[in-house]
Structure formats: structure tokens, C-alpha cells
């Protein structure tokens, strides 16, 4: 049984590690400025944890086989432990875990401690059961007032958000069901939810943030590649959670300006 255990544990270790190393399934292609940092930290963590994983499972398999009663006629070592080894091990793991954490923390700080820089594209994202709406404030740079009692999800876009058309700031607001962003410009994101918690998750941007009713959350990110990217809701929001899906179109600055101007014109 000792040999069987060794084989089983080692095989499990081999297959688990193989699919990580081969990257058969991996993080989706990164298309935002944070992706490089996050993927690097992920790879580093994965290499270190991978070493610990293989070492620990390898040792477990080896020890149960090596010291099986059937093959061990020598005396058992009567020992209650070894304080020195214990201290070394404790210190090493503490350095490993805390150090790993500190290495990643500057990325977290740059993503979440700082507000969006000047010149960022303002976009408001609103989650509701089971759709995402995107609002651009227009030339005045101000979002118009929204009124809960005006919200009509069945009418979509402006009406779904309950945009108060009596507010002058609302005149040039553009509301869409698909997100358009210019490439290589920081996005000044405002996140809201009207009913329950949703989570704005764009795997390719390495971006995720809950949208919480009652909170207005400001975030930023910078898409770096032209293309179409999927948005998935990542917080359980009700029976349509699995289909609360949206698209981000990252386009050139020129195409973005054209698209926004066309939407403004449609509105008039």
C-alpha cells in the first residue's frame, strides 16, 4: 500500500502540475496596462507555490513509501520534534508569504489608491438585473441627474437609468448598451448598481469591481489593444446572472470620437 500511495500521490502531483506548466488553460490574453504586472505577479506566485506543492507532495509520497512498516525493521526514531528546524521553517514561510504579498502591493496601490489622472475618458457603468448600461457625459463633462422613479428598464438606455431630461447637464449624456473606449487612454470609471450587487468583470483587462447599490465607486484602467472584449457579471445577481453579458469595443481615438459624435447626433 506504501508503493500504491506513492504512485497515486506522485501521479496526482504530476498531472496537476503538467496542466499548469503546459498552460493548456490559462489567463486570457491581456489587453490593458495592468495585465503585465498582474500576470507577472501571478506567474511568480505560481512558480513559488508550485515548488512548495511539488516538494510537499513529493515528500509525502516518498515518506509513506520509505517508512512503511513492512520494509522498516530498524528502530523508530523516538523524537518529539526539533525546535531549531521548526523555527527555521517558520521564518522561511513567513518571509515567503509576507514577501510575496509586499511585492504585489505596489500594483494594487497604483490601481486602487490613486484616482484617475487628468485627461481620462469618463464613463459611467450601471448594472441592473440583467444588463449593463454605459453613459458618456458629453461635451460638458457632467453626468445629468438620474431619478429612481423615472427608471424604466423595459425602455432601455436613457430611460432605464431614469435620466432626468429637465436637468441641463443631461442634454448631451449618451447612454448605450455596448461600451466603446479609445485605445491607450485611461478610463475614469464610475460604477453604480440600481437593484442588487453586480460585478463588472472584463477578464482581458484584468479588471473586476463590484457595482453596489447605494455606492458610487470610482476606478480606472487603460485598455492597450484595439479589439472586442467580453464583460461578464461576476457577482450573483439573480436568475439571469449567467447571461448578464456585455461587450467592450476598444477603438482608435479617431473612431471613438466619430462614434460618440454619431450618438450625440442621433440624440438631437
Amino acid at each position: 500500500m506504501g508503493l500504491a500511495l506513492l504512485v497515486i500521490i506522485w501521479l496526482i502531483t504530476f498531472f496537476s502540475t503538467y496542466f499548469f506548466v503546459a498552460q493548456t488553460w490559462w489567463l486570457p490574453h491581456g489587453a490593458a496596462s495592468a495585465a503585465a504586472f498582474i500576470d507577472h505577479q501571478f506567474a511568480l506566485t505560481y512558480v513559488l507555490m508550485g515548488i512548495v506543492f511539488v516538494a510537499a507532495q513529493g515528500a509525502l509520497g516518498y515518506l509513506v513509501w520509505k517508512y512503511r512498516a513492512a520494509a522498516n525493521n530498524g528502530p523508530v526514531e523516538y523524537s518529539h520534534g526539533n525546535t531549531k528546524l521548526e523555527l527555521i521553517w517558520t521564518t522561511l514561510t513567513a518571509i515567503l508569504f509576507i514577501g510575496l504579498n509586499l511585492m504585489g502591493s505596489h500594483v494594487w496601490a497604483s490601481e486602487r489608491f490613486e484616482p484617475a489622472g487628468p485627461g481620462a475618458v469618463p464613463v459611467e457603468v450601471t448594472g441592473m438585473q440583467f444588463a449593463w448600461y454605459f453613459r458618456y457625459p458629453g461635451a460638458d463633462g457632467k453626468y445629468g441627474r438620474t431619478e429612481p422613479k423615472l427608471m424604466d428598464p423595459s425602455a432601455g438606455n436613457e430611460a432605464a437609468l431614469g435620466l432626468d431630461t429637465t436637468d441641463p447637464a443631461s442634454k448631451d449624456d449618451v447612454v448605450t448598451g455596448t461600451m466603446y473606449l479609445p485605445v491607450n487612454r485611461q478610463v475614469d470609471l464610475t460604477l453604480r448598481a440600481v437593484d442588487v450587487i453586480h460585478s463588472f468583470f472584463v477578464p482581458s483587462f484584468r479588471f473586476k469591481q463590484d457595482a453596489v447599490p447605494g455606492l458610487v465607486i470610482h476606478m480606472h484602467f487603460t485598455p492597450t489593444e484595439i479589439g472586442e472584449y467580453e464583460i461578464a457579471c461576476a457577482e450573483l445577481c439573480g436568475l439571469g446572472h449567467y447571461k448578464m453579458h456585455g461587450m467592450v469595443h476598444v477603438v482608435s481615438q479617431e473612431d471613438f470620437d466619430k462614434w460618440l459624435a454619431a450618438r450625440e447626433a442621433e440624440k438631437q
Partner: protein, 576 residues
């Protein structure tokens, strides 16, 4: 000693007092165990239906029909809740703890036998109320076992969020009360009823684990109880603890000013210690068994005790790592992250000491030991995904994906269940006076180990690729399509692994009546439960009180007559 005499009670006579409303901690322990056994099969069945729906969303199942997306979420909610409360909290602590804690410390019963009976029957009522949610109009709630508000606080946020959700919260509240009573009883028993010579540092590590778990339960369940009551008030009396002004499907709700994050803070203040409530008893059992079957003292007993304490304390200051993406301050995320990484240190100490125990040992491979070794392997595998999720930057891509599902299933689900299997195979002879079948035990072990790894290891890959958890179908999102083969593989393996659990059940019940008779100490172990007869008499030690002379893991002592020295053996062991 005075305390022990005061609460001793005569053996009951009638069937009802002996087996139903019993005051005997052994009977109550078995009652908890069998309640958890029923619950685990209900929970497993629900997960199988979920897996079927994920890969065949429109399949017509016999008797059940088609599973709809909302039904999937109801199954998911009930699977999680039943497993966490009525299996992982019930069997390892209340089941085995009730049965063996008093015996291992040399007490005739728990400190408060009536309270003990009450906690079991309160738990039983909670379970019945939980199951009743299935039959409520609209069905069981769909808000997940974490019950995030406002989804859980509004009655029109989805199917099942009416009576079903009220029953769900009520059941959890009742369960909290039962757990508080149980925790008080455990703590008092350990502090007051230890036999002569049973100092704290001579207690088996199982007792230490039950002790710290009870303290965690005492501090955590009170908070969940309060949180649950506030949620009931929000739902039924129009208060706004958790709900701000919200508009559901165009309808302005009457709430304003509440905080959805308040629920998350209260819930996870309970929820994170709950993880350790589920796993600590398994760690205790693994330590006990590794030493016993390796015929070697546990490596670093004191370090093991301090590690359990450290895990218990740190477990209360890490709850925010569930909330990195919630809108909580990013500065506090930083603090929670450091504390969470720190909890990896005592966990690593335990792993190191388990491996150290096996070094230069003489390992016997009976079924209980196989499960203890499996526990160590799973604990390592489930634990090492922790440092990914504990870093806020890595939590950005991984939070709420299948990666998290893989992580907590391996460590608090499967590892904890391996602890229960280990405990069952180990203590079965003492509880029922017969041995379980070894061959079928091995078959069950091999299938379950390979099966659970094959189910949960691939979920890491799914999560890395961005598959969100709690998606009933993968039809709507294009990038999830290429993950379907892996999802199918998981469902197939789940089928086999769940079916293989019948081997365990048959072995359990068959051995109860037909297994070979067990001796008083079939594993040649040292702790007090192996000094008494099999099964133990009503007062555990047949009228006398044991006196303890040694620590719990004196194996292969040089110069001793046998390769183990009972805790009650007055013969000396060398100082160490």
C-alpha cells in the same frame, strides 16, 4: 472531581430516553453524526444535479424534469448551506467531538448533558426548517450560501426570495443558537472536567482542535445570529440595515440608507472563522492518526498546539479578504491581505510537522491512516491556492471565479471530509464494537482521492481562464465555450465519485452488524478512549475515573515493553 460527581447521571432505561432524547454524550454524538450523514447525501445529490445542468442545460431528468437557471441557483444555495452548516460544522465538531472529547479527557459526560441534548434537537429543527425551504411557494432561495444583500433582503429580487428565503434565514438563526449552546458545553467540559493528570498540554490534539473550534464558534455564531435577525427585519418589517434606495425592475422599493457591505462584513466575520470550524477538527484527527499509525510521537506537539491557537486568532482578522472587490476601502484590503498571508505560516508549521512525524517512522496502512495521509495531501493542495487569492492584485482576475470554488472545496470541503472519513474508520470499532471492512475501505479511499482531485484540480484552470462561479450555463459568453470539455470531464468524474460513496455507506452499515468483533484497542493507540471497554459504558469508564501520567503520543518509547505507552500507564517515559 467535585464537578464530575455533580453532573453524573444514572443510565436511562426506556427507548426514548436512551436513544431519542438522550443525555448521554455518546448517543448525542451519534445523532449528530447520522444527521450529517443524511445531510451530506442531500448536499451531494444537489451538486450532481448542478453538474448535470451545467453541461446539459436542457436535459429532461426523470422525476425532476428540466432544471431551469433559477432552479440551478436554488440548488447551489441549498448545496452550500447544507454542506457548510449541517455537514462540515456538524459531524467533525458536534459528532466526533461529542462522542470522544469527554472520553479522551477522562470525563463521564459533557458538563451540561441537558444543554447537550437541547443543542442536538435544536440543530435537528434547523435542518427540518432548511429542507422546508424546498417546498415553500417559489422554492428555495437563489441568493447563494453567502446570501448577499440586497439580493437576499428583497422579496422581489428573484424566485425563492419569498417564503423560501425567510425559512433559510430562520434555519440558520436556529442553527446558530444550537451551535452557541454546543460551544459553551465544549469549552466548559474541557476547562473543568479533565481527569487527574490530564493537564492541558497532555490533551490529544483532537481535544485541542475541538477546544479552539468551540471558542471560534462561540465568537462567530453570535454575530451571524444577529446578522440573520437584521436580515429578517429588512425583509419583513421594512427596516433598511442592508438595503439603500433601490429600484427593482422599475419599482422603487421602500428602503433607504442601508449598507449592502454591512451584511458582507457581518457575514464574513462569521464566515471566515467558519472555515476553521470546519477544518480544525480534521487537523486534530489527522495529527492523532498520523502519530498512531506511524508509531511515532507527533513531531512538535507544542508547535502544533500553538499553531492551532494562531490559526484561531488570525482567523478572526482576515474576513476582509472575501471583500477585496466589494467596494471596501483598498487600504483595508492591504491590511487584510497581510494578515491572510500570515495565516499561511501556522498552516505551514502543521504540514511540516505532519511530514516530520512520518520521517523515520514505521507506518501501518490501515484505512484510517490512508485518509489521514489523504488529508495532508489535500490540505497542501487546497492551502497553496490561498496565497493567490490572498493577494488583492491576483484576486482581481480570480475573485468569484471557479478558482475560488476549487480552493475552498479542496481545503474546507474535501480535506475536512477526509478528516471525517479518517475519524469514522478510526473510531468505528470503539463506537460499534466491530471493525469496518479494510478492502472496501481501501477501494473507497483510492476512488475518492483520485476522484476529488480530478473534480477540483481542473476548476483552478477554469477560474484562471475567467469562468465566473455561480453561472448556471455557459451558453451566453463566448470565451467560456472552449472550457466546455473540461466542464464535461468534471461532471463525468463527479458522477463516478459520488456513486462510489455508496461503498462507504454499505461498508458502514454492513460492518455495524456483520463486521468482525473489535478488541478494546485495535489500533494499539494510547489515548483514553482505548482504555475503556468497547463500546464504552454509560459513564465511560465503568465506575472508576482514569488517572493520566503521560502525553498522548508516546509511541516507540525506548525501553518500553510495547511500542506504545497508554496515557494511563504509570510506568515512566524518558523526560523530553
Amino acid at each position: 472531581m467535585v464537578a464530575q460527581d455533580a453532573h453524573a447521571h444514572a443510565a436511562p432505561q426506556g427507548f426514548i430516553r436512551k436513544y431519542v432524547f438522550s443525555l448521554d454524550h455518546k448517543v448525542i454524538g451519534l445523532q449528530y453524526y447520522f444527521l450529517a450523514l443524511v445531510a451530506v447525501f442531500v448536499g451531494m445529490f444537489l451538486s450532481l444535479l448542478m453538474r448535470i445542468h451545467m453541461i446539459w442545460p436542457t436535459a429532461m431528468l426523470p422525476l425532476i424534469g428540466e432544471i431551469k437557471p433559477e432552479t440551478y441557483l436554488q440548488l447551489l444555495t441549498m448545496h452550500g448551506t447544507i454542506m457548510v452548516f449541517f455537514v462540515l460544522t456538524t459531524a467533525p465538531q458536534s459528532g466526533f467531538g461529542n462522542y470522544f472529547l469527554p472520553i479522551q479527557i477522562g470525563a463521564p459526560d459533557m458538563a451540561f448533558p441537558v444543554l447537550n441534548m437541547l443543542s442536538f434537537w435544536t440543530t435537528f429543527v434547523a435542518f427540518v426548517v432548511m429542507l422546508a425551504a424546498f417546498f415553500a411557494v417559489g422554492g428555495a432561495p437563489l441568493h447563494g450560501w453567502t446570501g448577499y444583500a440586497p439580493l437576499s433582503a428583497l422579496t422581489n429580487s428573484g424566485p425563492g426570495e419569498q417564503l423560501g428565503a425567510d425559512l433559510w434565514i430562520t434555519s440558520i438563526a436556529i442553527f446558530c443558537i444550537a451551535s452557541l449552546m454546543g460551544a459553551l458545553n465544549f469549552i466548559t467540559t474541557i476547562l473543568d472536567l479533565r481527569a487527574k493528570g490530564m493537564t492541558m498540554m497532555r490533551m490529544p490534539l483532537t481535544c485541542w482542535a475541538w477546544f479552539i473550534t468551540a471558542i471560534l464558534g462561540l465568537l462567530a455564531f453570535g454575530v451571524l445570529l444577529s446578522a440573520g435577525i437584521l436580515l429578517l427585519l429588512d425583509r419583513n418589517l421594512g427596516t433598511s440595515f442592508y438595503v439603500p434606495l433601490v429600484v427593482v425592475n422599475g419599482q422603487v422599493m421602500g428602503h433607504k440608507g442601508g449598507s449592502p457591505l454591512l451584511w458582507q462584513h457581518l457575514f464574513w466575520f462569521f464566515g471566515h472563522p467558519e472555515v476553521y470550524i470546519a477544518i480544525l477538527p480534521g487537523m486534530g484527527v489527522a495529527s492523532q492518526l498520523l502519530s498512531t499509525f506511524a508509531r511515532k510521537p507527533i513531531f512538535g506537539y507544542k508547535a502544533m498546539v500553538y499553531a492551532i491557537m494562531a490559526i484561531g486568532i488570525l482567523g478572526f482578522v482576515v474576513w476582509g479578504h472575501h471583500m477585496f472587490m466589494s467596494g471596501m476601502s483598498p487600504y483595508s484590503a492591504f491590511a487584510f491581505s497581510i494578515m491572510t498571508m500570515a495565516i499561511g505560516v501556522p498552516s505551514a508549521i502543521k504540514t511540516f510537522n505532519w511530514l516530520g512525524t512520518l520521517y523515520k517512522a514505521k507506518i501501518r496502512f490501515q484505512t484510517p491512516m490512508l485518509y489521514a495521509i489523504g488529508f495532508v495531501s489535500l490540505f497542501v493542495s487546497g492551502g497553496l491556492s490561498g496565497p493567490f487569492l490572498a493577494q488583492p492584485v491576483l484576486d482581481i482576475p480570480l475573485h468569484d471565479t471557479a478558482f475560488v470554488v476549487a480552493h475552498f472545496h479542496l481545503i474546507m470541503g474535501v480535506a475536512a471530509i477526509f478528516g471525517m472519513f479518517a475519524g469514522t474508520y478510526y473510531w468505528f470499532p470503539k463506537m460499534f464494537g466491530r471493525m469496518m471492512n479494510e478492502t472496501w475501505g481501501r477501494v473507497h479511499f483510492v476512488i475518492t482521492l483520485i476522484g476529488t482531485y480530478s473534480i477540483f484540480m481542473p476548476m483552478h484552470y477554469l477560474g484562471m481562464a475567467g469562468q465566473p462561479r455561480r453561472y448556471s450555463q455557459f451558453t451566453e459568453v463566448a470565451y467560456l465555450q472552449h472550457l466546455m470539455p473540461l466542464n464535461r470531464f468534471i461532471t463525468y468524474v463527479a458522477f463516478v465519485t459520488i456513486t462510489a460513496q455508496l461503498i462507504f455507506v454499505v461498508n458502514l452499515f454492513w460492518s455495524m452488524f456483520k463486521g468482525p468483533k473489535a478488541s478494546d484497542n485495535p489500533w494499539e493507540a494510547t489515548t483514553l478512549e482505548w482504555t475503556t471497554s468497547t463500546p464504552p459504558p454509560h459513564d465511560n469508564f465503568g465506575g472508576h475515573t482514569p488517572v493520566v501520567y503521560h502525553g498522548p503520543y508516546e509511541y516507540s518509547v525506548p525501553g518500553a515493553a510495547k511500542d506504545y505507552v497508554m496515557q494511563t500507564d504509570p510506568a515512566g517515559v524518558p523526560a523530553h
